[in-house]
C-alpha cells in the first residue's frame, strides 16, 4: 500500500482517533523531536514545557532543539537531520522560514517520520503532515471586531495605526493584520499584503520587530503623521507596551485604544492595568502537548492527525481577553486569563 493511499484511508478515522490520543500508550522506545525558532521567546519556552510534560506523562523520549535567532534556518536544518539520524518517530517544528526547510522536511517524511508544524504553517501547508496552530487571522478578527463594537459610532471616524512585525511580511504578520482589518470592517485588498488598503481611516503602518523599543519608535513615527490616532493594532504585547509609552510621552495615553495578540502573562497584566484594551490569547502549551500525542498515536498505529474543518490546519484555539466585554464577541476577563497565560 502506498503512503498516499494509507493517508487517504486513515484520514476519515483521524478525527475520532484524535480524541483518544491522550490515552495512547508509548510503544517502547518512541522518540519525538521538538524544534523551535528560538529558545528565548517565552512562547517557545512554554511550548517546550508543554511538550516535555506530555512526553514525560507518556513515557517517551523528547529531544529539543532551537535556532539561535528567529530566521536561523541552518540550525533547524541541522536539527531535523539529527532527528532523522536518531531514528525519531516524529518532529514538531516551528519553521523559521516557511519555504526554505521544504527539502529537509521531505527527507524526514520519506524516512517515515511524522512531521507536524507548530504555530507557523509551511508554505505550502502540506509540506508537513499536519499543522497545529493558532488561527492568527481569527485572532486578528476578534480584536478588530471588539474594537469596532467598543468604539461604536465613532468607528466610522477612527484614526488607525497598525504596528506590524518586520518588512518581510511573513504569514503571522499579515494574517493578524488582515484579520484585524476584516474584524473592524475594513475592506482588505490582497489578504496576504499589509498596507494595500484604501480606507482613509488608516493613518499608516510601521514595523516593530515585536519589541517594546520598536513599538515605541513606530508609534512615535505614526503620531508624527497624525497626532489624532485613536486605535492602535499591535502585532504582540511588547509592541503594545511600547506604543503605550509613546502615547504617554505625547500626553495622550487615554486618546487611543490599543489591541494586541498573544496572551503572554505581562500582556494579560497590561490588559488588567488598562494599557491594552483587548488581546487575543493563543495556547502554545496545548499546541505542543497535542503534537506529542499525535506523534505517539502515529507511532502506535499510523494514525494521521486531521485538520479543523474549513481550515488548512488544526486550530489549537484563540480566546479574546478583555475587561470590557462587548456583545457578539466571546471573551474572558484578565483575571481568568492570568490562569491560562504563557510566559
Amino acid at each position: 500500500m502506498t503512503n498516499t493511499l494509507k493517508t487517504l484511508l486513515l484520514s476519515g478515522a483521524a478525527a475520532v482517533a484524535f480524541t483518544g490520543m491522550a490515552q495512547a500508550q508509548a510503544s517502547g522506545d518512541v522518540t519525538a523531536c521538538l524544534i523551535t525558532k528560538t529558545d528565548t521567546n517565552p512562547f517557545f519556552v512554554k511550548m517546550r514545557e508543554g511538550a516535555t510534560a506530555a512526553a514525560e506523562a507518556a513515557g517517551i523520549t523528547l529531544q529539543t532543539y532551537a535556532g539561535a535567532i528567529d530566521g536561523d534556518v541552518e540550525s533547524q536544518v541541522a536539527a531535523v537531520e539529527t532527528c532523522i539520524a536518531a531514528g525519531a518517530s516524529g518532529i514538531l517544528i516551528t519553521p523559521s522560514d516557511s519555504r526554505a526547510l521544504e527539502p529537509v522536511i521531505t527527507q524526514a517524511r520519506d524516512a517515515g517520520l511524522l512531521v507536524i508544524a507548530l504555530d507557523t504553517p509551511f508554505e505550502p501547508a502540506d509540506t508537513a503532515d499536519a499543522t497545529f496552530a493558532t488561527d492568527n487571522f481569527e485572532a486578528g478578527r476578534l480584536i478588530g471586531a471588539w474594537a469596532a463594537a467598543t468604539m461604536g459610532d465613532a468607528a466610522a471616524d477612527a484614526r488607525i495605526a497598525t504596528l506590524d512585525l518586520n518588512p518581510s511580511q511573513v504569514s503571522v504578520d499579515y494574517l493578524r493584520n488582515q484579520g484585524f482589518m476584516t474584524g473592524f470592517g475594513i475592506e482588505v485588498n490582497d489578504p496576504t499584503r499589509i498596507g494595500d488598503e484604501d480606507d482613509a481611516r488608516i493613518v499608516g503602518h510601521d514595523v516593530t520587530n515585536g519589541s517594546a523599543e520598536g513599538g515605541r519608535t513606530a508609534m512615535e513615527n505614526l503620531l508624527q503623521i497624525d497626532s489624532g490616532i485613536n486605535l492602535v493594532y499591535t502585532i504582540n504585547e511588547p509592541a503594545a507596551a511600547g506604543a503605550y509609552e509613546a502615547l504617554s510621552a505625547f500626553g495622550i495615553a487615554d486618546q487611543a485604544l490599543i489591541v494586541s495578540v498573544d496572551g503572554g502573562c505581562p500582556g494579560v497584566r497590561d490588559v488588567a492595568a488598562g494599557v491594552i484594551g483587548a488581546t487575543a490569547m493563543q495556547f502554545p502549551l496545548r499546541m505542543a502537548s497535542l503534537g506529542i500525542e499525535a506523534i505517539i498515536a502515529h507511532a502506535n498505529d499510523g494514525t494521521m492527525p486531521a485538520n479543523t474543518e474549513g481550515l488548512e490546519f488544526f486550530n489549537t484555539g484563540v480566546m479574546l481577553v478583555t475587561d470590557q466585554p462587548v456583545d457578539g464577541v466571546e471573551s474572558i476577563t484578565s483575571a481568568e486569563a492570568l490562569d491560562l497565560c504563557w510566559g
Binding site: D39, T40, P167, S211, A212, E213, Q224, I225, A241
Partner: protein, 358 residues
C-alpha cells in the same frame, strides 16, 4: 666671541647670505579642487558627516515638509537616536583603537535586566541596583579587554564570543520576560529617570538625550585634551610605535574596554527610560546599529582617525533618514536600503581620504 670675524679666519657666516633660507620641505604639486577637498577632509574628519547631516535635514525638510522641520520632530529624532548614540560613543572608543565591539548592546541589555531584577523583583534600593549595573558594565568591559590583551584574541572574535555569552545571561536572568513599565513605576521609578523631559517651546528633550550629549562632550574632552586620550589615538594608529614611545598599550586598551563597558551600563539606565519597560528582546541589533553610526560618522575602522563627534552626527544622520523617509510615506524596506548605501558611501569616502598624499 667677537662680533666681527677675525681676519684670516674662515668666514662661515658670510656663506649664509647665498644659502637657502627656507626649511627642508616636500615638493608641492598643485592639488586642484578635488585634491584640496581631499586634504581638508583629511584634516577635519567630521566635515563629511556634518555636511551630510545638514544636507539631509534640508532635503527632507523640502520632501516631508513642515512636519519634519518642526522643533518637536527634530527633538523626537534626538530622542530616538539617544540609546544607539550612547552605544556608538562606546563603540567609537573601541574602533579608535582599531578594534570592534560586538557586545555593546548585549552588555547594555544585560545591565538593564540586572538593575531591573534587583530593584523591581528583589527590592534592592534603586541606587544600589544601578551601582551594581555600573560595576557589571565595567567588569564586562574588563573581560573583553582581558581577552584582547592577555589571550591575544582579535577584538572581533573576543566580542563575538562575549556577545553570545552576555545574551545568554540576559535570557537566563530574565527568563526572556519583560519587566513591565507599571511595575518599575511602582517600585523603582529612579530606573526611569532618563525618561523625564524638559519642554522648550515645542521641542521636548528627554534626560536621555541630554545624557547622550554629555557623554559625547566628556569623551571629546578626554580624547582630545588628555594624555590618555592621545594614547588611545596612538595605539589605534600604530600599536608598536606607541609601545616603543613608552605607552603601556595593553593597560590602556583594557581601560578603553572598561570605559566602554561603563558607558554601556549608562546606556542601560537610559534605555529603561526610553523603552519604558525592560525588554530582553530589545536592541538585538544594537551592536550593528552602533557600528553603523560610527562608520557613517567618518571614524576609520582601521583605527586612530576620526572624531568622537562624528559618531553623534552618524547616529543623527540615521535618525534623520528614518524619520524623513517615514514622514515622506516611504515603505520601511527603502529605509533599510538607504542606510545600507549610507554605510557603503561613508566607508568609500574614508578609503579615498586615507589615500591623501602629503
Amino acid at each position: 666671541m667677537s662680533d666681527t670675524p677675525k681676519p684670516g679666519g674662515q668666514d662661515y657666516e658670510a656663506r649664509l647670505k647665498t644659502s637657502a633660507t627656507t626649511l627642508a620641505e616636500f615638493d608641492h604639486a598643485p592639488r586642484g579642487v578635488i585634491g584640496t577637498i581631499q586634504h581638508v577632509l583629511h584634516a577635519n574628519p567630521t566635515f563629511v558627516p556634518v555636511i551630510v547631516l545638514v544636507a539631509s535635514i534640508a532635503v527632507f525638510g523640502v520632501i516631508a515638509g513642515e512636519r519634519f522641520f518642526s522643533p518637536f520632530n527634530l527633538s523626537l529624532i534626538l530622542q530616538q537616536v539617544s540609546i544607539i548614540g550612547i552605544l556608538a560613543a562606546a563603540q567609537t572608543l573601541i574602533i579608535l583603537t582599531a578594534g570592534i565591539d560586538l557586545s555593546v548592546a548585549a552588555i547594555m541589555v544585560l545591565m538593564s535586566v540586572i538593575s531591573g531584577k534587583l530593584a523591581v523583583q528583589f527590592g534592592v534600593p534603586a541606587p544600589i541596583a544601578l551601582l551594581v549595573s555600573f560595576a557589571g558594565g565595567i567588569a564586562a568591559g574588563y573581560l573583553n579587554g582581558w581577552l584582547v590583551t592577555k589571550i591575544k584574541l582579535p577584538p572581533f572574535i573576543a566580542t563575538l564570543g562575549t556577545w553570545n555569552v552576555f545574551f545568554a545571561l540576559v535570557l537566563w536572568l530574565s527568563g526572556a520576560q519583560s519587566i513591565r513599565g507599571a511595575d518599575i513605576d511602582a517600585t523603582a521609578p529612579l530606573l526611569k529617570f532618563f525618561g523625564n523631559t524638559i519642554q522648550i517651546g515645542d521641542a521636548r528633550l528627554t534626560f536621555g538625550t541630554i545624557l547622550m550629549i554629555l557623554v559625547f562632550v566628556a569623551l571629546w574632552y578626554v580624547l582630545n585634551k588628555t594624555a590618555w586620550g592621545r594614547h588611545v589615538y596612538m595605539i589605534g594608529d600604530d600599536k608598536e610605535a606607541a609601545e616603543l614611545a613608552g605607552i603601556r598599550t595593553d593597560r590602556t586598551l583594557r581601560q578603553v574596554y572598561m570605559l566602554a563597558g561603563f558607558i554601556c551600563a549608562l546606556a542601560a539606565w537610559a534605555s529603561i527610560g526610553r523603552v519604558g519597560s525592560i525588554s530582553p528582546q530589545s536592541f538585538y541589533e544594537g551592536n550593528l546599529e552602533s557600528i553603523t553610526a560610527v562608520v557613517i560618522g567618518g571614524i576609520s575602522l582601521f583605527g586612530g582617525r576620526g572624531s568622537i563627534m562624528g559618531a553623534l552626527f552618524g547616529a543623527l544622520i540615521v535618525g534623520v533618514f528614518q524619520s524623513g523617509l517615514r514622514l515622506a510615506g516611504v515603505d520601511v524596506l527603502w529605509q533599510v536600503f538607504a542606510i545600507g548605501w549610507l554605510i557603503i558611501i561613508a566607508v568609500a569616502i574614508d578609503q579615498w581620504i586615507r589615500k591623501v598624499s602629503a
